[in-house]
């Protein structure tokens, strides 16, 4: 600044007091305005901070789970990564944190697509509710629509699997699979992968089972084998899910439904014949067993009776022997006389007194050639 300018400035300050007062008032007004503005800015900043912090609260809605990505990386590990539905959480504002909402239930369900014939939506509903399958007699399978599997004995059969599974490793199941090329996170990719695994499990398992095993003889074995193969694929393909249930439903081709019904009837008839025979077997063996036990028991009883009888006779013999030996004839006479009344009470008696002339009586017996019918019917000899 030059000396001249300094002089002018100094001169103005002291030479024009009213102008100076006007300038001070302006500065003051400006200062006040700035002060007010700063106050508003401060309030706005506080509000902004409150809004930003408040905006960090979020609720996970029912039927969905959430994952917080912090700088793109999921917060937490394993199941802790998934925020439960129905609860409130807080996260930093974007771009630090990003809340990813995933529509997901506890148990996921997927049905295989390979192996079953085509049904319209109406037919599907009728089948599910009434169990009535759409007519198929006389219609060839259309490979563009109808699906089926080939059994080990090279027969055609329909089968499908309904798989219920849980997400065990969210990182693998949700962040490693996609259903499309968009950047959304959902269960579409893992659902598709599980469905493909179920399709493969059905096709590969049916390829080593005969049609009768799949349909009737070893239904549980086939289902177990499908589930086993599915679990293998889930593990091999690192799907990050756990299969809870794998229900397998199999049907003969509709074109042969009548024939298969006849087979079922024939099988039931055969089983019935065998069951009746087994019933007879049980009855025959039971009766024979009872008869055998009866024979043995009778023999035991007879033996006991015989031994007891001989024993008692021996005892009686020993007791009577002294009497007999003292007078055998008297003993015999007495014993016979004692026994005769007992005999006479039971028998028909004919007394023939001695002839007066002392001669022997001639006795004639009238015997019928054929015994009277009445006496036979009455249990005669």
């Amino acid at each position: 600044m030059s000396e001249h300018d300094h002089h002018d400035h100094h001169h103005a300050e002291h030479a024009d007091p009213p102008a100076l007062e006007t300038r001070d008032a302006g500065s003051q007004a400006l200062a006040e305005a700035l002060h007010s503005s700063f106050a508003i800015v401060k309030v706005a900043m506080v509000l902004l901070v409150v809004v930003i912090l408040g905006a960090g609260f979020f609720r996970v809605n029912p039927g969905e789970k959430a994952v917080i990505l912090r700088f793109g990386k999921p917060v937490g590990e394993g199941q802790k990564m998934l925020l439960s539905s129905g609860k409130f959480y807080w996260s930093f504002p974007y771009p630090i944190d990003e809340v990813v909402r995933i529509p997901i239930s506890e148990i996921q369900k997927v049905t295989s697509t390979a192996g079953w014939y085509y049904m319209t939506r109406e037919e599907e509903v009728t089948y599910e509710t009434m169990g009535t399958e759409p007519a198929g007699n006389g219609i060839n399978l259309d490979p563009r629509k109808d699906s089926y599997v080939i059994s080990a004995d090279r027969n055609i059969i329909h089968t499908r699997a309904t798989v219920y599974y849980r997400i065990e490793d969210p990182l693998a199941a949700i962040f490693h699979f996609t259903a499309g090329t968009n950047q959304q996170f959902n269960t579409g990719g893992i659902s598709n992968a599980v469905q493909n695994a179920a399709n493969n499990a059905l096709v590969a398992t049916a390829a080593r089972f005969n049609v009768d095993d799949i349909l009737t003889l070893d239904i549980a074995g086939f289902q177990d084998a499908v589930r086993h193969r599915l679990n293998d694929l889930v593990e091999r393909e690192h799907l990050g899910v756990a299969v809870d249930q794998c229900q397998v439903q199999s049907e003969a081709p509709r074109q042969l439904a009548d024939t298969f019904r006849l087979v079922t009837a024939a099988r039931q008839s055969r089983d019935k014949s065998i069951q009746v025979a087994q019933g007879d077997q049980n009855r025959i063996l039971s009766e024979a067993g009872a008869q055998a036990v009866g024979i043995t028991n009778s023999a035991e009883a007879a033996r006991n009776r015989y031994v007891t009888s001989v024993q008692s006779e021996a005892e009686a013999f020993t007791r009577l022997l002294p009497q007999y030996e003292s007078n055998p004839l008297l003993y015999e006479e007495l014993a016979l006389t004692k026994t005769m009344p007992e005999i006479f009470t039971n028998v028909e008696k004919i007394y023939l007194p001695q002839r007066a002339d002392g001669r022997t009586r001639e006795l004639r017996l009238m015997l019928n050639r054929e015994p009277p019918q009445n006496s036979r019917a009455a249990g005669g000899p």
Binding site: G72, F175, G180, L233, R270, Q281, Q291, N304, V307, A314
Partner: protein
């Protein structure tokens, strides 16, 4: 002074945000990022997190989805080694494993184009691999002869080899057969055969049921006869044991055989005389011998 401090803080925060936006970028969990310097791919980032970069136009960021994407090929006919025809479709799970290699191969890093390329490779690999196998390798009741997994692996290895050869930056994560089938013209003959087999089965089932029932019944009867025969043999044995036991007591009767015989005769007499017996006797019989001393009965028979 205080006002200036607030101003400085706000300015600093804004500056930091601006600098962060210019010099950093995020990689999400599902992404792989290729950082290009002056449009020349320089580095690939697979792990999620916050990374530094030079601002545009020095560095540019290209993002790719590194998640597994699945698709299935057409359900198409294939000739097998035994000249039979089979229809098959295969599903494939693939992902971008080397984004730096993938990026320049497909315009804009298009996954759709990549999938189209994969389908072409898969078709030829499937035809080639399945053509080396018979139908019995696909369906067989003997698990040791079944080559299902082997065929799947052959197709996967073949596609993977082509991808590696062309350096597409793609990895096949898994591959499996989704459907197999027979040509429509063949299904009718299969149905005819199945029907004939079922009809034979029905006849067999009936005769088998009857035969098996007869077998069960005759076996039961034979076993029942054996049971009774065994029981009869046991009874004979028991009877013999009883007689042997009784025989030990016969020594008692040896003391006076006449008395023993008399007792037996008396017992036999009692047992033989029942209500259907008729006994004819005269005065010589005891106790009727008492009549011998009575006067004769002129009307007696």
């Amino acid at each position: 002074m205080k006002k200036n401090a607030i101003t400085i803080i706000i300015a600093a925060i804004l500056l930091v945000i601006f600098v962060l936006l210019l010099f950093t970028f995020q990689v999400r969990q599902s992404e792989v990022v290729v950082v290009s310097r002056f449009l020349e791919p320089k580095r690939t980032i697979n792990e999620p997190g916050l990374y530094l970069k030079w601002p545009w136009p020095i560095d540019s960021i290209n993002r790719f989805d590194q998640r597994v994407q699945t698709f299935e090929d057409k359900f198409s006919e294939t000739y097998l080694a035994d000249n039979s025809i089979m229809l098959a479709s295969v599903y494939v799970g693939w992902r971008i494993s080397d984004a730096k290699a993938f990026f320049p191969k497909f315009p804009g890093g298009s996954a759709v184009d990549a999938q189209r390329q994969l389908e072409t490779m898969l078709r030829s690999a499937k035809l080639e691999s399945m053509g080396r196998h018979n139908l019995a390798d696909f369906v067989n009741s003997d698990p040791s002869k079944l080559k299902f997994d082997e065929i799947e692996k052959e197709i996967q290895d073949s596609v993977q080899a082509q991808l590696a050869k062309n350096n597409y930056g793609i990895t096949i994560e898994f591959l499996g057969i989704k459907r197999i089938g027979l040509p429509e013209s063949v299904t009718q003959s299969v149905f005819d055969r199945m029907k004939a087999e079922r009809t034979k089965y029905i006849t067999d089932a009936q005769s088998q049921g009857e035969a098996q029932a007869a077998k069960i019944k005759s076996a039961a009867e034979r076993k029942a006869a054996d049971l009774v025969a065994d029981a009869t043999a046991d009874a004979t044995r028991i009877q013999g044991e009883g007689e042997a036991e009784a025989a030990k007591m016969l020594g008692v009767f040896q003391q006076n055989p006449q008395l023993a015989v008399f007792n037996l005769q008396l017992e036999a007499l009692k047992n033989s005389m029942n209500q259907k017996s008729t006994l004819i006797f005269d005065e010589r019989w005891s106790p009727f011998s008492i009549f011998q001393n009575l006067p004769a009965n002129p009307t007696g028979k």
